[in-house]
Amino acid sequence: MPRMTMLSGWGRFPKLHCKVSRPRTEADLRNLLAEGSLIARGNGRAYGDSALNTRATADMRQFNHMLAFDAETGQLTAEAGVMLGDVIAAFLPRGWFPPVTPGTQFVTLGGMIAADVHGKNHHRHGSFGNFVDWIDVMQADGEILRCSPDDNRDLFEWTIGGMGLTGIILRAAFRLSRVETGWVKQTVIPTADLESTMTAFEAAQDATYSVAWIDCLSSGTRLGRSLLLLGEHASRGELSAAAQANPFAILNRRKLAIAFDMPSILHAVPLARAFNALHHWRGAAGTRSRLVDWYRYFYPLDAIPGWNRLYGREGLIQFQCVLPLDRSRQGLHVLLGAIAASRQAPLLAVLKRMGRQDSRFSFPMEGYTLALDFPATPAVLELLKRLDRIAIEHGGRFYLAKDSRMAAATFRASEPRLPEFLAMRAEKGRAQAFASAQSERLGL
């Protein structure tokens, strides 16, 4: 029984009245498909309107069974609605961790495949799609196709990064990675400007995880000043005796909600001041490494449920683009310059070096990706149009999982792969059967 519900993505912008159903069986899904176009929705962590369809949104979270696990290879077979957090809860104690993780564990397997998510290890390990062995996808006519690099290869490649527009992901098999502990050895490197930030990134190509927090209030000679955070999974021997006894447990979990890392500090007080304080402190302390548990390291924002509401009524917009490696230095300069000049300080600004990736429609490519959180005000929307243009001028493209407001023409200009995507959509009634508010806005 579908219900009309006010729905949005994680940014709470836009909000649309959608007819939402909670299918439980393949037959339920076939019935929905018979009624008209729909979009599959995971846990709604895409920021914008990727998982909204006013006529029919299919909440896939009832498909939440783990179906098989191979303890030799680490291959987990699960239904699309299984949460990443549940995967970690079940397998980290057995020494397995997701090979790639976004910055929140509240995403579904289906959402991770459809957005082909990347993590702080993209430069080393690529996107989540690299670890997917096969996917079962329901097509417009209700047929279920098992897709893999060997069978239905086209559909396999389109579905990874296809934003739910190739069909409904029912289940998939993917490989977890071995870890010895639940701890990460983190090193913080303060950098003085964009040049030194990028040099530090390039020097850290061997690090498993790398990401930088940029101080967007600095301009002039300090433009691009950052804290570069590197991480390695800690081995058992590196843990304290207390932690070794239980290497996958989180100590002091009770304190989690309060004792909270950088992002909360950045939100709680004016960004610049906090950043300066940290920068100095880190600078003085030198680039020492320390052990951080997996929860604080990978998911600091998850400790505050509903933090997206802190941004107020208008909601939150994330801008994320990636620039090709050879244009990154110049492009980032212009982007950061435009932000500094606009006086619209982002609440959060994250820079990441991406590794090589060659895929049908996924976001990542080799180069640098910049992600910025803003409140969704009119002035910000104007600024973002400028940033769109700059990104396109430098050969960049945009992450659909974060987009909520781009113009169709902008996306078209950024995406040489679009004609082929549209050709795939024209086949087998896909364009009629699968549509989101985003796909309609962008003409996908």
Binding site: R3, M66, F69
Partner: protein, 245 residues
């Protein structure tokens, strides 16, 4: 905590399955009892993979009361804890017109659950240990026009659980009455439930586990319901009679 098996009666129920996961996470083997139990294979595998405990499936129909003793005999092992999540909401309006429909609601929420819990109570009593959990409802606290057929059966079930607890006091067997308010499950699918008053199946499951561990007698799932029901129970009948809630 890790311990003996937990039997879930109504093993396909959203609340029952959430409870199964909770108990499995705490290390208990799980027995899922339901009609058409074979169809629970996916749930069984899921729990085994996630929590590494054994899960068994058992054919069970609460309305087939004559089979209950045999059903308990057929369990691989007598459980330490049994949770009864069997229930049918039914359609109040249809029940007013059609007594067969009303009777199904009465039997499914009262007769069936009472029969199976009585059978288990006797076995637990003989053994001298165990916990029985009955999922009743706040709907049983006072009959209202909108759902009094279901409510009256739940009222009966609550009274039964209270009496059973009283009888077994001192026997080593404990009885827990769970009184959820609105819960987002298959039963309430498509209904317009007030978000602030609506719990998730996982919330009910957590409340059940806590109640079993702490040997609580009667638990409301969201504390606000205790208050809401206290108010509703205390409205004088002449006023209540004319209210539409």
């Amino acid at each position: 905590m890790s311990g003996g098996p937990v039997l879930i009666l109504g093993g396909r129920s959203d609340i029952g399955l959430a409870a199964a996961r909770r108990f499995a996470a705490a290390g208990h083997p799980i027995q899922l009892a339901a009609r058409n139990a074979e169809s629970l294979q996916a749930a069984r595998t899921d729990i085994e993979i996630r929590y590494g405990v054994p899960v068994t499936l058992h054919e069970f129909d609460a309305l087939d009361t004559g089979s209950h003793a045999r059903f308990v005999d057929s369990l691989n092992i007598l459980p330490n804890i049994a949770v009864c999540a069997v229930g049918v909401l039914g359609d109040q309006k249809e029940g007013e017109r059609e007594c067969t429909s009303a009777i199904l609601v009465m039997r499914s929420n009262y007769e069936g659950p009472v029969a199976i819990l009585s059978e288990l109570a006797n076995r637990f009593e003989t053994r001298g240990s165990g916990t029985l959990v009955g999922i009743s409802s706040v709907a049983g606290e006072r009959g209202r026009a909108s759902n009094y057929i279901y409510g009256s059966a739940k009222a009966g079930f609550s009274a039964f659980l209270s009496g059973l607890r009283n009888r077994l006091s001192g026997s080593g067997v404990h009885v827990v009455t769970v009184l959820p308010g609105f819960v987002a499950t298959r039963m309430t699918e498509g209904m317009d439930l007030p978000p602030r008053l609506t719990a998730q199946p996982e919330d009910v499951a957590a409340a059940i586990l806590r109640a079993v561990e702490k040997q609580k007698n009667v638990v409301y799932v969201r504390p606000v319901w205790r208050l809401v029901m206290a108010v509703i129970r205390n409205i004088p009948e002449p006023i209540f009679r004319r209210m539409r809630i």
